[in-house]
Symmetry: C2
Subunit: 87 residues, 2 copies
């Protein structure tokens, strides 16, 4: 069954304490390749049947209105896994 993936990240101007904590852990572990870590959410929405334009539009709407908080987060991606988007 096709899956729609919605990626949500904290806004760039926010501190993201979880990401800072991971950055600190990297420093303590001697991992130096990554200068910054930010942590967001990945939602996988399973679709029964075909991913039509209407379903994709509904996914974009719920991504903005239900799955993310637009005060502190940005929806950075809505994409289809496991099936092509029907034109």
């Amino acid at each position: 069954m096709p899956t729609i993936v919605v990626d949500v990240m904290p806004k760039a101007e926010l501190l993201d304490p979880q990401g800072k904590a991971v950055s600190g852990a990297f420093a303590r572990l001697g991992i130096q390749d990554f200068s910054q870590v930010r942590i967001g959410k990945r939602f996988e929405l399973t679709v029964d049947g075909e991913v039509t334009d209407a379903v994709l539009a509904e996914a974009r709407r719920v991504a903005e209105e239900v799955l993310s908080n637009s005060v502190i987060e940005d929806v950075v991606g809505v994409s289809v896994d496991g099936a092509e988007v029907r034109a």
Copy 2:
């Protein structure tokens, strides 16, 4: 600056109560297009300089050993945003 994106999801056999809560919210809101919701994490690791094979290998290693808990989570993707992977 290039960013390496690491996607981590709860294992398929786990319940994922957060995802179930969102599914329940969808039902109450009359959103019927999505039969299942699962929620994982998206890490963005900023790399200073070029994403070499060594940096990508290090990202894969930290994805498995630091960013995910292999008892309950799977690393479902490690990819480069904003720059090509050097061959």
